[in-house]
């Protein structure tokens, strides 16, 4: 089968971008969407044209690097699937497919379909971890945790930080991402000492990056390749409220970390 690709081409961060249309060579329907781009790029290279830059790494849906908006939907037509696990067979023979980068002020385009998502790294760097002394590996099961909490922590930990939530949100809000990170550690015993300091710091970093604000439309959860749900935003808001109260009554918890 063959398709036509209407692709966003932008030579650099400050250059003007535009859509260009490319006809693909004959494709194997079982190729992945990214393999299709590889094939198109091979042709472009042979013709002496610049290949289409797109972000990818694991190609198995676990790293969060791939980031295409396919026909207006982040990560393409399927539910709970990243761009790299989208296949050519999901499209019609002869179809024109629009491919563009995630669009948000905190995710500037570096080139073509590649965006700079280090804003997420900066948010992670202020609280997306637990401060522990790294000694010998602790004994498994030495810290008890309820099945419900461990399951929910695992649900949140699924977040691969791709940024599709921001790309889909009409407000370009990053609250689903931040809430997954806050919720993941906030549900685990190891995350408790820094729980309230973490939520204040991460929300503050999120705001500094210039993301928009949640209006509870649910678009983020609908496109999330890992099906993170809005309940984590509710949890984050509740943690934030508790953190504000703790700050108000001068409790140390919100201000300091795990301590020494």
């Amino acid at each position: 089968m063959r398709v036509n690709l209407k692709v966003w081409r932008q030579p650099g961060p400050h250059a003007r971008g535009e859509f260009k249309t490319y006809a693909t060579p004959d494709l194997n329907p079982d190729m992945s969407f990214l393999e299709m781009l590889d094939v198109v790029n091979d042709e472009l290279t042979l013709k002496g044209e610049e290949p289409i830059a797109f972000a990818h790494d694991c190609r198995e849906g676990i790293c969060g690097t791939c980031s295409l908006v396919i026909n207006g939907k982040p990560h393409g037509p399927h539910r709970a699937v990243a761009s790299c696990q989208t296949y050519v067979r999901s499209f019609k023979d002869g179809e024109t497919i629009t491919i563009e980068p995630f669009r948000a002020k905190p995710f500037p385009v570096i080139r073509d379909l590649v965006t700079d998502r280090t804003a997420f790294d900066r948010i992670m760097s202020v609280g997306g971890y637990v401060s522990v002394r790294t000694g010998a590996a602790p004994d498994a099961n030495s810290i008890p945790i309820s099945k419900i909490d461990s399951d929910r922590a695992m649900d949140a930990a699924q977040c691969i930080g791709c940024g599709a939530c921001v790309a889909a949100c009409k407000n370009a809000s990053a609250m689903l991402f931040v809430s997954a990170k806050v919720g993941h550690l906030g549900l685990l015993p190891q995350g408790q000492p820094e729980r309230y300091r973490r939520v204040l710091a991460m929300v503050n970093a999120m705001d500094d990056e210039g993301f928009g604000n949640c209006t509870v439309t649910g678009s983020c959860a609908a496109v999330c390749p890992k099906e993170i749900n809005l309940d984590f935003i509710t949890r984050m808001n509740r943690d934030y409220l508790v953190a504000l109260v703790q700050e108000g009554v001068g409790r140390k918890g919100a201000k300091e970390g795990a301590g020494g």
Binding site: K170, A172, V203, F211, G212, V216, D231, T234, N237, Y240
Partner: protein, 235 residues
């Protein structure tokens, strides 16, 4: 940072202000409806209710100013959050974007809110300030008083409503505004629980359904008043 500063400066703090003020207005809207539905009882009831509200002018002004403050905070948070939202997405998608399951109401909260704000201003000028120039009835509402009977000399609110909603233009504007309020609340009345950090899982689904039902109830309740007066069921 101080907690109050965080509340007014952070995204989540402002969402909490929006949720809390929204919840307060939601409760007011229900209370106001229950009071107004007395128009369907013999006219003495709503006049007595209005008289009761004016029993203590001091208390009334405290309530009025608190309401103005609540509306002000809601609009302030809406405007500032909305400005941030717009600047966070400077370039749009070439292929458009779907709502991805988002309800219509959730995407137009700001628009519906602005029209409601305009309506609230009109509504206050209409029945509270009683500005004759905008009532399209050619009557000064402040002169309407009950003559004779035990309520002699009291304000005749019943007659004011009948004359006020006698104007089709005014009634139509009220219906449109109430419709938009219904849409705004069909989303807002459940979204506020998320903003305030309450309700997860099954409760989210239940509250979403409840919010829609209550909003429709609010619409039907408020709409019944101008419609009943227009059809002369209340006169």
């Amino acid at each position: 940072m101080k907690p109050l500063q965080l509340l007014f400066q952070s995204s989540i703090g402002k969402k909490m202000i929006m949720g809390a003020t929204g919840a307060a207005m939601f409760l007011f809207v229900i209370g106001h409806l229950v009071g107004n539905l007395q128009v369907f009882l013999p006219k003495e009831h709503i006049n007595a209710y209005a008289h009761l509200l004016h029993a203590s002018e001091g208390l009334l002004w405290i309530i009025r100013l608190s309401l103005v403050g609540i509306v002000g905070l809601h609009v302030w948070s809406a405007v500032t959050l909305n400005a941030q939202n717009n600047s966070a997405r400077p370039s749009t998608y070439g292929a458009g974007t779907g709502p991805f399951g988002a309800s219509w109401a959730s995407q137009y909260m700001f628009m519906t809110g602005l029209v409601i704000a305009a309506f609230v201003v009109y509504h206050l000028l209409h029945y509270t300030v009683q500005l004759s120039a905008i009532n399209f009835a050619g009557k000064d509402f402040s002169t309407l008083t009950v003559v004779g009977g035990p309520q002699n000399g009291w304000k005749d609110v019943h007659q004011m409503l009948v004359i006020g909603f006698g104007s089709p233009i005014v009634s139509l504007f009220y219906l449109v505004a109430i419709g938009l309020l219904c849409i705004h609340l069909s989303h807002g009345a459940s979204a506020m629980f998320q903003s305030l950090g309450i309700a997860e899982g099954a409760w989210r689904t239940r509250l979403e359904a409840l919010a829609k039902c209550v909003s429709i109830g609010i619409f039907l309740g408020y709409a019944s008043i101008p419609i009943a007066i227009f059809l002369r069921i209340v006169s």
